[in-house]
């Protein structure tokens, strides 16, 4: 009861809210627990599913560090996109499975966020066929990109390269995050001797291994519909 609390109780309740504690814990406790209980980074992209609703409006979230980490590098990336506007629209109109695609510069990273229907590898494959030159223009500016361009001549390697940079999508329900970790570690038991209070630590350690993630699988106003269905229903033709 509040009346029973002593000075040390109040201090310990207050401590985790302080910036000092969070910083000290980040420098000491997090590396310590990462060493004692190592975690593997969870893989990016949508979770595998055979169900229709999970295979439309899928998300791709790429964060690609620029080679030139300066305003000049960022300007090069901005120009690469601006110069290829026609190619991007032509690709969107021809591929027909993309709800939207956005290029964003965050710090010294160029990011590509898109929502597409169907299989990830087919999505990238279709875009290589239609706007491979845009990918080449962007990836050329990105760390580790030289090995996979021109993408038209390195299709499988390029798809893998993109997949490795696609962010892990933290499940919408917190406990499904635990299931993802168990699956990655090959643990499939339905019931066990778990400790649910470790969920915060597991999340911290995963976010240490996987600094950039997508929070949830996206919040959709009209889930379950493909680009083709929307265009057909709205009478926009194809």
């Amino acid at each position: 009861m509040p009346g029973d609390e002593g000075l040390l109780d109040r201090v310990v309740d207050w401590l985790p809210k302080t910036l000092v504690f969070k910083r000290v814990a980040s420098w000491t406790l997090v590396p310590l627990w990462a060493r004692l209980t190592p975690v593997k980074p969870l893989p990016g992209g949508p979770h595998l599913s055979f169900q229709h609703g999970d295979n439309v409006q899928c998300m791709m979230n790429l964060i690609m560090p620029l080679k030139v980490k300066s305003p000049i590098g960022r300007a090069e990336a901005a120009l690469a996109i601006a110069q290829n506007k026609d190619a991007i629209f032509a690709g969107l109109n021809n591929v027909g499975t993309v709800h939207f695609a956005r290029f964003v510069i965050v710090g010294d990273n160029i990011c590509m966020f898109s929502v597409y229907d169907g299989d990830f590898t087919n999505y990238i494959r279709d875009f290589i066929a239609t706007i491979g030159s845009v990918f080449n223009a962007v990836v050329e500016l990105v760390e580790g990109g030289d090995d996979v361009i021109p993408c038209e001549e390195n299709v499988e390697a390029f798809i893998q390269w993109v997949h490795e940079r696609d962010l892990y999508q933290v499940p919408d329900t917190a406990t499904d995050f635990l299931r993802d970790q168990e699956a990655l570690n090959g643990e499939g038991a339905v019931s066990g001797n778990d400790d649910l209070t470790l969920l915060p630590r597991k999340l911290v350690l995963q976010l240490r291994a996987n600094a950039n993630v997508s929070l949830g699988s996206g919040y959709r106003a009209y889930p379950g519909f493909s680009v083709a269905q929307v265009r057909k229903q709205l009478g926009l033709g194809w």
């Binding site: 002593g6 040390l8 627990w33 169900q51 609703g53 019931s191 969920l199 630590r201």
Partner: protein, 337 residues
């Protein structure tokens, strides 16, 4: 239907875990308030469900909002599941119910699970965790258990956590309960019917669905760091409805092949098609709380043609358990269709 003796054991298991008996009252969701309103189906509702209340004509409704805790003590500000039981009064004199809570997923799959849960998650003495143990939690990057609320001496939290640690299917529901908080108003929370139902559309197609009420005013909880107030929700609702009606949208999510149809512990992905089935407008707090709140006897299986129960064992068990509870407190009898 679940055997009558099992239904009695279910209710008794709940009663046995109360701080003190509450004769003549609901054993859980004991504290509640009855409200009058009207439901109007959306233009598309009938396409998906031919049930009478989805035809489009205004349907009078009785709603009972409640706090999940059992017992006569009112603790509105405590983190707790809230209930929203709705009776649609149909033109031919029949009624149909939709019972929902702020919990998105349940924590047991069937009756056997429930008995085990009731056995493990008993009321236990609940005290502030010692500072040095909390410090130990922090060093392990754990979040320490919450401090007891003023006058809170017992809780099922520790037992529920033990149960969740043993059973992964229970973890989502119990984790959600631990974070659920207290709404600033009964009209500012989302309520989920949890179970799967089958609806028949105007084209004869049967679809598995789950229902949720979503507040037009938006979802908002109280500040969890503030000292909780024990009594504010009834007065807040009365004042709110004196000024303006409160509205909820009835959303229906359509399941797909492979989704959990008979297991209320498993969520459906947010990628499923959602349909707006109608709008509920709450007009006033019922004047006769005894008739329109306490004696009204809701049952999640009180359905009308066009909506059917799924094979969810918990839904099936609730049919009998709600009847047993109703008989014990002398509520209005449950008339089947």
């Amino acid at each position: 239907m679940v055997d009558a003796s099992v239904a009695k054991r279910l209710v008794q298991a709940i009663i046995d875990n109360l701080p003190e008996p509450v004769p003549g009252k609901r054993p859980v969701h004991t504290i509640g308030i009855g409200v009058k309103g009207e439901f109007v189906a959306s233009d598309v509702a009938r396409t998906y469900c031919i049930a009478e209340h989805f035809k489009g004509q205004p349907v009078p409704v009785s709603v009972r909002f409640s706090n999940g805790l059992g017992g006569l003590e009112q603790h509105d500000g405590w983190s707790d599941v809230r209930g929203m039981a709705t009776r649609f009064h149909l033109p031919d004199g029949r009624g149909t119910d939709l019972i929902a809570t702020t919990l998105g997923e349940f924590f047991v799959r069937n009756v056997e699970d429930f008995f085990e849960f009731a056995d493990v998650a008993k009321l236990e003495k609940y005290e502030r965790r010692a500072w040095w143990r909390k410090l130990g939690d922090l060093l392990q990057l754990k979040v320490p258990p919450r401090n007891p609320y003023p006058n809170e001496t017992v809780s099922v939290d520790a037992g529920a956590l033990r149960y969740a640690n043993r059973h992964r299917f229970a973890q989502l529901g119990i984790f959600q309960v631990s974070l659920i908080g207290a709404p600033v108003s009964y009209a500012r929370a989302s309520y989920h019917a949890v179970h799967t139902f089958w609806v028949t559309g105007s084209d004869g197609a049967r679809r598995p669905v789950r229902f949720s009420w979503q507040p037009v005013a938006g979802v908002r909880n109280t500040d969890p760091k503030a000292v909780p107030r024990d009594k504010y929700l009834f007065e807040e609702l009365k004042n709110r409805l004196r000024r303006w009606p409160a509205r909820f949208m009835l959303m229906m999510t359509i399941g797909e092949a492979g989704d959990a149809l008979d297991d209320p512990t498993k969520p459906w992905p947010g990628t499923r098609i959602r349909v707006v089935m109608g709008t509920l407008t709450l007009i006033k707090v019922a004047e006769d709380q005894e008739a329109d709140g306490e004696r009204i006897s809701f049952n999640p299986c009180r359905l009308v043609p066009g909506i059917e129960v799924s094979a969810d064992p918990i839904l099936e068990a609730r049919l009998g358990a709600y009847e047993v509870s109703r008989e014990m407190r002398g509520g209005c009898p449950f008339r089947w269709r």
